[in-house]
Amino acid sequence: MIAIEGLSKRYGAVRAVNGVSFRADDGKVTGLLGPNGAGKTTTLRMLSTLVRPDAGRALVDGIDVTRQPHQALARLGVLPDGRGLYPRLTAREHLEYFGALHGLAPAALRARIDHLVQLLDMAGIVDRRVAGFSQGERTKVAIARALVHDPRNVVLDEATNGLDVMSTRAMRTVIRELAAQGSCILFSSHVMQEVSELCDRIVVFAAGRVVADGTPDALRTATGESNLEEAFMKIIGSGVGLA
């Protein structure tokens, strides 16, 4: 379970994140929706310990990420904004490296990699070097890397960005499967279809604040719009930056 409580971060005069609070429950897919620059990525970076908040706190399974970063990271699998891979290593070597850094024993790591290769349909590419991979293949490796230690909490920043239709569908299946197994999934996107299709609950960001938080039905009811797209437009005030 992930809990964000009053997180704030300012850069100079810009309040990138301004008192954001929300929760993401186990077994659910929680979507962060908002235009580019609304503060989603900064919030996720504070959650994943790389950016120190000015105020507020982020909890992973009740662990404060600022106080106990390593304990929090051990329970967190993050697909970061930058997907960076090592071009000269194979997909399997990526998983072996990150698995070892998470402290997995060799036998457990091998079994976990076999499982991920099956889950993400990577059998054809797992022993090839990453250098020639397509965008979709790279994303698969990055997601497998985020999941290598079997985390209960999974954070996916723009997971379907740059993927073709087939890869996007496959990704949705994987996310739903993880949630069905009881994981807590936090999924950020600026693509409304993506979020409305996938998420049990939607947290809407605009200008560094949470402007709406609820199930898709609740958002429709609250705005009095039957169409989710119209509902978002009403909440955010404009559609700029959304897709």
Partner: protein
């Protein structure tokens, strides 16, 4: 865990074929350059016979004998001596006046002319040699004449000028030895350059730094693993360079030049012990600087400049051939140059010198790595600056 990071970085580096091959260019180039320069010197040093066309050699047979005895190959004069010199066919032409014998016998100054072209640089050496021979001949004859009249020759030479030429091949060769520490230091720095960049600026440019820092591993572990990988690459290249010099020294015409230069297994071990601390410290500094760079390219520019710095002490010692002193030991590069030159001159290097070099370098390295660890907490370093 440090070992796991080290292993990944080494595998990654070894697969970067171009950068690995590139880092070994220097170790091959250094010894070859030394070999080439020595070859050039020994060519320069050997006294080739000086060819000198002489007009009117029949007027001064004794002078001709003297010149030939001094290694000059006296040749028949060309038809137009001035043209011959102007065109560079002869470095100089000696013209002996027909009145030479008559005036000489009378104890007066006998006229000889040396036709030269001062604007021809390539002839300078030969011209000076001829001049010195003629002046020498004149002085010894003059001295004889004075003595025949019961006067000490010193009366006629109030100054005794002795010229000491420092540009002898021996001296040049001794200075050339400074090439050895220079190349060893360059190897120790350049050898790890690509790993230093790849594991810092490169890691960020690829976007993999963010993912790497999401592992529950202390920053220090990552820094130490990356630093070890860089150091191993540096040491490998420095070691190969040292072996190259060991091999080359055997082929140098050192005895012909009257020089002593020692580089056996023991000397090589002492040199390695002096160079290794620079490789460790250099790896730390390079990683620290590369971390500040915005991109791989920018890091390369900075490090190429940084790696030129050790040239400075080498140059300094080349013109100021001082013995290595204790105050140099805590100064990286200067300590290495001093120690290497001492060892190659056959002087013993006290063990505590090597101890001080190691100790100070490790302290500097610790400072660099500590700073690097702190930098990896800063978000503008993790995500890059615009």
């Amino acid at each position: 865990m440090i070992g796991r990071v080290l292993r990944k970085e080494l595998i990654d580096h070894l697969r970067d074929r171009r950068s690995v091959v590139g880092s070994f260019v220097l170790p091959i180039l250094g010894p070859l350059l030394l070999l080439g320069m020595f070859q050039l010197l020994s060519d320069l040093g050997s006294d080739r016979p000086l060819e000198l066309p002489v007009v009117g050699s029949e007027f001064a047979p004794r002078l001709i004998d003297y010149l030939e005895a001094s290694g000059v190959e006296v040749q028949p004069a060309p038809l137009y001596p001035e043209d011959s010199v102007r065109r560079g066919e002869a470095a100089a032409v000696l013209v002996i006046d027909p009145t030479y014998a008559e005036r000489f016998a009378a104890g007066r100054s006998a006229p000889v002319r040396l036709i030269v072209d001062e604007s021809r640089n390539d002839a300078h050496r030969s011209v000076r040699r001829v001049e010195r021979l003629l002046v020498g001949y004149a002085q010894s004859l003059g001295a004889l004449r004075l003595m025949a009249r019961g006067i000490s020759p010193e009366v006629a030479s109030p100054l005794e000028l002795e010229e000491i030429d420092l540009s002898t091949p021996e001296k040049l060769a001794a200075n050339l030895l400074n090439v050895v520490p220079l190349f060893l230091m360059l190897a120790a720095l350049v050898g790890g350059m690509n790993v230093a960049i790849d594991t810092t600026a490169g890691e960020r440019e690829r976007g993999s730094l963010e993912a790497l820092l999401l592992n529950p591993v202390p920053r220090r572990t990552l820094v130490l693993g990356k630093w070890l990988a860089t150091s191993i690459a540096s040491l490998a290249v420095a070691t190969v360079t040292l072996l190259g010099f060991m091999l080359t020294v055997r082929f140098l015409p050192l005895e012909e030049l009257g020089m002593k230069m020692l580089l056996g297994p023991f000397e090589a071990l002492v040199l390695w012990t002096a160079i290794a601390p620079l490789a460790l410290f250099g790896s730390g500094v390079q990683m620290l600087i590369a971390t500040f760079a915005r991109s791989f390219k920018e890091a390369q520019t900075y490090l190429n400049l940084l790696n030129l710095l050790p040239m400075a002490p080498s140059m300094f010692l080349m013109f100021e051939p001082a013995r290595s002193a204790a105050w140099m030991l805590p100064l990286p590069a200067l300590a290495q140059v001093g120690t290497v030159v001492d060892v190659m001159r056959g002087e013993s290097v006290p063990a505590w010198h090597l101890g001080v070099i190691f100790g100070t370098s490790l302290a500097y390295t610790a400072l660099c790595l500590g700073a690097l660890e702190r930098l990896l907490r800063k978000e503008n370093i993790i995500f890059g600056r615009p």
